[in-house]
């Protein structure tokens, strides 16, 4: 009986918690990648809100690409191992160990959360930014360190040098590589132009090829098309 009482007490200690979850919201489809906030001035509101001149889906057809596919798509796209994508404090896997819920997973064993959140959380955007910047930076650093000419993603750039010139072959090739690796398609001219625009003179413009690589990777990776299905 004493044992059972002990177990009862422990059961109470092990009570589960459930997170406060906002209501799910449909996300708009956008074939155009989002721009990173720090790199570009905001476009005029009128331009952002103008509906595309073609038919749009009317149903609930856009789904969040949750942690597992987000992780695996980044691993394949940037040719990085699971633990190379992002580690908090150099120790904990960002996706699996620290930000799992914000990325759409659930954690029955560590947190007693048995259901994934129905929609993105308030912390999801910053976590996505965190993981993407880390992963893109890791890829650029690895390619920069490559001395064998086997850079996986940014082989068209001289990563130790200054930012490439707009309109250069290196920019076009890098854009194509990122689109193919992360979005599984070729870029449209308007999308290639958007990547080019990162190099427009200004105080936020990348100074080095490595900075450009990270920024371009972030732009494609943070697009709605990459983050949603």
């Amino acid at each position: 009986m004493r044992t059972l009482m002990m177990i009862t007490a422990l059961a109470c200690i092990a009570c589960e918690s459930s997170p406060s979850i906002p209501s799910p919201k449909d996300q708009p489809v956008s074939p155009v990648p989002q721009k990173p906030v720090p790199a570009q001035p905001e476009r005029p509101a009128q331009e952002q809100e103008a509906p595309p001149p073609y038919a749009l889906s009317q149903g609930k057809s856009v789904l969040w690409k949750r942690y597992a596919a987000f992780e695996r798509d980044l691993m394949r796209g940037l040719d990085l191992g699971r633990d190379e994508l992002c580690r908090e404090l150099g120790d904990r896997n960002c996706i699996r160990d620290v930000h799992l819920i914000a990325l759409g997973g659930n954690d029955p064993f560590g947190s007693g959360i048995h259901r994934p959140p129905p929609g993105t959380l308030g912390t999801t955007p910053m976590v996505v930014d965190r993981v993407l910047l880390s992963a893109c930076s890791a890829r650029a650093a690895a390619d920069k360190a490559d001395k064998q000419g086997e850079a996986k993603v940014f082989g068209a750039l001289q990563l130790a040098g200054p930012a490439p010139a707009p309109g250069s072959e290196a920019v076009a090739k890098t854009t194509e590589t990122l689109f193919r690796r992360l979005l599984a398609r070729d870029p449209k001219p308007s999308e290639a132009a958007l990547i080019e625009s990162l190099l427009e003179p200004g105080e936020d413009a990348p100074q080095s090829a490595e900075e450009f690589a990270v920024l371009a990777c972030f732009v494609v990776g943070s697009s709605l098309e990459f983050l949603f299905q």
Partner: protein
């Protein structure tokens, strides 16, 4: 105030005053489905109380419920009068949302809630050119491929894998075949079997790490055994058996009814593979308070008689209501705590354990729940026999009989228990045992519907609504033809318009 409000308010007031002692009628859902058996809310389920009520105790009604209430002659019994009253308000638009009650019932929305309307996607304006990236409103193979690959392979298709879908003259039937070929491989792959499908089981198994087999929480008892100090890890059961059965039954084209019918355990071999055994499994850890599986074969019923399921849900209760409700929710898709699946049994609840559930506000649910729970009464929760106490005193170990079968348990715990009176009933059918309970459940429309719904919601992240309910109906009705294979269900799901048409 609109005309509608002027009419509704007095009716509501009148209803509230004239039925001050009224309460919701749990017979309502059943009578509703006898009237409208082909509507979305009656296909493999029954409607919950919120179809008519805003509150069940004290009773309050939404606009539809008020109209039905006003149409009841109140001369014969409620269940007898309800069908005619329902039909009498068919043509009305009780909630004023522009759709008749009948249309809303047939299309799966709520006739008493003006925010709930049949989904009628606006047609794409004909003057707009086609979307350059998606086949809007039609099955788009590339879109379906990306979605299916993400869900069942754990990653999007690569640039090369999508090459056939970019070809301008691609044959649609060949593209569909490619999708199914790829997904079939993934359904046997590591991601689905080790992660995707496993996570789908979390909310049904509901593990607690500190009470599972790997618990690191140690208890030192304030008494000693003849062998010295008693220090044990707090293990209630090993839920990895539950996870393995969940994955086993829902993969490899196996019969998903084994979720409720398996008499075997799925064990993990040293090399990481799994195999089946019908033997009892001893607690493998001497320092744990429980472990293995202790239920004799004849009493087993898949997931709902695992040691974990029984101990986690029954704990110390005499009548395992929580256990029955958990089984009803997880495998038949009806949550009694949300007043779903109410099918009251005449004369119930008997209140065999003196919990006061005969009170009207409790009886609404307990007239269904208690007969469900009777079948679980002979199964132990956190309870052990005298043999284990001796073992504890002599050797300082505890091999609890958690989740074991004990025919005498009901009468020991509830002195007024009578097997003649405490007749288990599931879905309106009397059953003799939990095993029979599981067999009725596994053959029911509710089980098939729930199984299809699990995969539907996983894939589309919302409950089916409107026309989607019909697609769900086709899916769950196809399960029987497909031998209850979850894999075949997924292939059918991928082929639906709701899955593949953006």
């Amino acid at each position: 105030m609109s005309l509608r409000c002027r009419v509704t308010a007095p009716v509501f007031l009148l209803a509230a005053l004239s039925t001050s002692a009224a309460h919701a009628k749990p017979e309502g859902p059943r009578a509703f489905c006898e009237t409208y058996p082909e509507t979305a809310r009656c296909m493999g389920t029954v409607p919950d109380c919120s179809l008519c009520h805003t509150s069940t105790s004290p009773a309050a009604w939404n606009a539809y419920g008020l109209d039905v209430l006003a149409a009841l002659p109140k001369q014969a019994g409620f269940e007898q009068e309800l069908p005619a009253a329902l039909l009498a308000v068919d043509a009305r638009d009780s909630d004023g949302d522009g759709f008749s009650n009948r249309d809303e019932l047939e299309l799966g929305s709520r006739p008493g809630d003006d925010a709930s309307r049949p989904s009628t996607p606006e047609s794409t304006p004909s003057n707009l050119p086609p979307n350059p990236d998606y086949l809007i409103g039609r099955y788009d193979p590339a879109y379906a491929y990306r979605r299916a690959s993400t869900l069942y392979c754990g990653q999007s298709p690569s640039y090369d894998e999508l090459a056939p879908f970019r070809a301008p003259d691609a044959d649609a039937s060949k593209l569909r075949a490619l999708i199914h070929e790829r997904i079939e491989a993934c359904l046997h792959g590591e991601y689905w079997l080790k992660e995707g499908l496993v996570r789908l089981g979390d909310d049904r198994i509901r593990p607690i790490t500190n009470l599972g087999q790997d618990s690191k929480v140690a208890i030192t008892l304030p008494i000693s055994s003849l062998s010295g100090e008693i220090k044990l890890r707090s293990v209630m059961a090993d839920y990895s058996y539950d996870y393995r059965l969940w994955v086993h039954a829902l993969s490899g084209d196996r019969d998903a009814r084994d979720l409720l019918l398996a008499r075997y355990f799925v064990v993990e071999n040293a090399d990481g593979t799994t195999s089946l055994t019908e033997e009892l499994i001893a607690n493998p850890a001497k320092d744990a308070t429980a472990g293995g599986q202790k239920l004799a074969k004849e009493y087993r019923a898949g997931m709902i008689t695992s040691m974990w399921f029984l101990t986690r849900n029954t704990m110390f209760t005499s009548l395992p209501r929580t256990t029955a409700a958990a089984a009803y929710r997880a495998y038949l898709g009806m949550d009694i705590s949300k007043m779903q699946g109410l099918m009251p049994v005449a004369g119930e609840p008997d209140d065999i354990d003196k919990m006061g559930v005969k009170e009207a506000r409790c009886a609404v649910c307990h007239s269904t729940l208690d007969p469900l729970a009777y079948a679980f009464a002979p199964y132990n929760g956190l309870q052990t026999g005298i043999g284990a106490v001796f073992e504890l005193v002599l050797f300082g170990t505890l091999n609890g009989d958690f989740g074991a079968y004990d025919e005498a348990r009901p009468t020991t715990r509830m002195p007024e228990w009578s097997w003649a009176e405490q007749q288990p009933v599931l879905l309106g059918k009397q059953v003799k045992s939990l095993r029979e309970w599981a067999e009725v459940a596994a053959e029911s429309d509710e089980f098939a519907r729930n199984l299809a719904n699990v995969f539907f919601v996983h894939a589309l992240e919302h409950e089916p609504e409107g026309a989607e309910v019909e697609e769900l109906g086709v899916l769950w009705q196809g399960l029987r033809e497909d031998g209850y294979s979850a894999n075949k269900l997924i292939h059918r799901l991928i082929d639906t318009a709701v899955f593949g048409a953006p």
